[in-house]
């Protein structure tokens, strides 16, 4: 069997609010094979970021992991103490965020911020740490690394700030990098550069990557496997080419049609009618049922299970029967 970097099994994360329990992540399972890039796509509020934060154990109150297991290689993360988890973050798993400006300290030189990570995880002198920072700056494509080391975040462009974040995340050569919408705040030409960089880092350092994005294009470009999330659940998962060639879940098909139809010159664009359901008040059956064109009685009654319709291609839909 393939070696896995990360295995998430039956993960449930909820937010316990005054109005009730919000099931942000609902029985989610997925594997990240070694040296692979897996994508999690879905629209805002589908639980993709909360899945990532659960893996990092960075949930904010009142969020809590309710059940399930998260294992990096053979280490169970849900059982670790806070201090042990601190060591895992940065060393074994690291994360980059959408908005690099808010993730960096505005009153500290960017070089120092990255150096801090090295000093925290390694027994090295400040001089050695600085050298290492400059080396990683070069690797992530920051021109004039010595000069940039002395810059404050506001002196850098959005693309450079994201490169600094990537440098910070990669400096301890983690096994897993979680990238939460890493290019959403960037312009397309810069986005292309950052995606290329992430691919190169995977090839050179061998880090596995979880790429979270709302953009099907970004996912198609970079990922080996894709998981589509809707209202807290994975509704379809497959190898990238299989998913884009043979989408089965009505939601996946709807998303793809919406994107493809943008190349139309006239007429009406394809949309998915309705809106995402309220997570406080999920339908009893399939959460996509109210917006689905293929719904039947069964969809109202019970939540469909993820079932395999082709090798490695799983769908959570009653209508996508076991025909294959």
């Amino acid at each position: 069997m393939e070696k896995m970097t990360l295995q998430v099994n039956d993960l449930c994360t909820s937010f316990f609010t005054d109005k009730g329990e919000i099931k942000a992540v609902n029985h989610v399972s997925f594997d990240v094979p070694k040296r692979s890039i897996i994508g999690i796509v879905g629209e805002s509020g589908c639980g993709k970021s909360m899945t990532a934060r659960s893996v990092m154990r960075l949930l904010k109150y009142p969020g809590k992991i309710v059940s399930g297991s998260i294992a990096i290689e053979d280490k169970e993360l849900t059982a670790l103490t806070e201090a042990e988890m601190s060591n895992v973050r940065g060393e074994e798993i690291s994360m980059i965020f959408q908005e690099p400006m808010t993730s960096l300290n505005p009153v500290m030189k960017v070089g120092k911020q990255v150096q801090e990570v090295v000093l925290l995880h390694r027994k090295v002198t400040k001089q050695e740490a600085k050298k290492e920072v400059i080396r990683i700056f070069e690797k992530v494509g920051i021109s004039e690394p010595e000069k940039r080391y002395e810059c404050y975040p506001h002196e850098l462009s959005g693309g450079l700030r994201q490169r600094v974040m990537i440098a910070m995340a990669m400096i301890c050569r983690p096994k897993l990098l979680i990238a939460d919408e890493p290019t959403t705040a960037l312009d397309v030409t810069v986005e292309a550069q950052i995606l290329e960089l992430m691919k190169n880092l995977r090839d050179e350092i061998g880090t596995s990557i979880i790429l979270i994005s709302h953009n099907l294009g970004v996912v198609a470009e970079l990922c080996d496997y894709v998981h589509v999330m809707y209202a807290g659940r994975i509704v379809e998962q497959a190898e990238t080419f299989e998913l884009f060639d043979n989408p089965k879940h009505p939601y996946t098909i709807g998303l793809m049609n919406a994107v493809d139809s943008l190349e139309k010159k006239q007429g009406v664009l394809d949309t998915i009618p309705g809106t995402v359901p309220n997570l406080l008040d999920l339908p009893e059956g399939c959460s996509f049922e109210p917006r689905c064109g293929k719904r039947c009685e069964k969809c109202v009654e019970c939540v469909p299970e993820l079932h395999e319709i082709a090798p490695g291609h799983l769908v959570r839909c009653h209508a996508c029967g076991q025909e294959v």
Binding site: E43, S44, S143, S157, G158, G159, L160, D187, V188, T189, V190, E191, A192, Q193, L195, E196, H214, N215, L216, G217, V218, A220, E221, T240, F241, F244, G254, L255, M256, A258, V259, D260, S261, L262, E263, K264, K265, Q266, V268, L269, D270, T271, I272, T275, V276
Partner: protein
């Protein structure tokens, strides 16, 4: 001026002073025309001046130099009183549907505000009726009248913003990134709505976007901007199928395609970052990032010239 020109921009520049010596050259010597009933898309990366140009065209920002005419009147430096009649004919839809609606006002009051400012309706009851009409035009209903902005989703809020923009039957609307804060499925709903309204009411749009992929469907013509200057301007299909300016080509190539079979084998990647608009490069402003730049590009600024049925500002196409 041609008969069907609605707005004409002539050598428009907008500069923002930073200190006594430095200034941001947001828009530099831009000339363009928007024809009646057309959708002109203005695309470019953040900081290229597209929003500033859009706002300067409807006098939300005072230009430093140049002229904007609307129909037959020059509206730059027009006295406020005289401009009042023109203001109602030009409206704007903003990018962020969360920041552009007052959280303390009900939907009815938000949409009624322009109607009341211009005394369109005789009584409050009539105003409310007109608001309901507008809500229905954008796909909402009378049930939503007394709700507040926070009770709506992003797509619905954008619909409210659109209803407010069309309240006074304007002829020209600047849509400033109206869909970039929205999810794909909702984004298409809003694009359909904008196109439908444009056809139904014969509106003219300046559609500002950083995302070339959402422009193709809605725009008749596309104008590409880089660092305060126009690069290329032409019919949408011409630009998409045969882009000439190197920057336009990079922009189009950089859009990630939602199809793994179309993954770029060899990427055309733009090197470097956007130069600073405080101290724009000499000659062609794109030359620092352009792989085809020659000595001429470094020293001499290219003019917009007609090439193969569109306008391009690039020395590559000088005969």
């Amino acid at each position: 001026m041609q008969d069907n020109t609605l707005i004409k921009v002539q050598d428009l520049s907008v500069e923002f002073p930073l200190s006594s010596k430095k200034k941001v050259h947001a828009v530099s010597d831009v000339s363009l025309e928007v024809k009646e009933h057309e959708v002109l898309a203005l695309v470019g990366e953040s900081g290229c001046g597209k929003s500033t140009l859009g706002k300067a065209m409807i006098q939300l920002i005072k230009p430093t130099a140049g002229e904007v005419s609307f129909k037959d009147a020059v509206i730059t430096n027009m006295p406020a009183k005289a401009f009042r009649d023109y203001r109602r004919q030009m409206q704007i839809v903003f990018q962020d549907p969360y920041a552009s609606l007052d959280p303390r006002m009900s939907v009815r009051d938000i949409i009624a505000e322009p109607l009341e400012t211009y005394n369109v309706c005789a009584t409050p009851k009539e105003t409310t009726e007109r608001v309901v009409e507008l809500l229905e035009a954008v796909g909402l209903s009378a049930d939503h009248l007394y709700r507040y902005a926070h009770q709506f989703s992003g797509g619905q809020r954008q619909r409210i913003g659109i209803a407010r923009a069309i309240a006074l039957n304007p002829s020209f609307i600047v849509c400033d990134e109206p869909v970039s804060a929205l999810d794909v499925s909702v984004q298409n709903q809003i694009l359909n709505l904008l196109k439908d309204l444009q056809e139904r009411f014969g509106l003219t749009y300046l559609f500002i976007s950083h995302d070339l992929s959402v422009v193709r469907f809605i725009a008749n013509r596309v104008c590409v901007m880089f660092l305060g200057k126009l690069c290329e301007l032409g019919d949408t299909e011409t630009i998409y199928t045969n882009p000439l300016h190197p920057y336009t080509r990079f922009l189009l190539d950089a859009i990630p395609k939602a199809d793994p079979h179309r993954r770029r084998k060899e990427r055309m990647l733009l090197s470097g970052e956007l130069p600073s608009p405080v101290d724009p490069p000499s000659g062609c402003r794109f030359h620092t990032r352009c792989p085809y730049a020659t000595e001429k590009c470094r020293t001499q600024e290219p003019e917009m010239k007609p090439v193969e049925g569109r306008m391009v500002a690039c020395h590559l196409y000088a005969e």
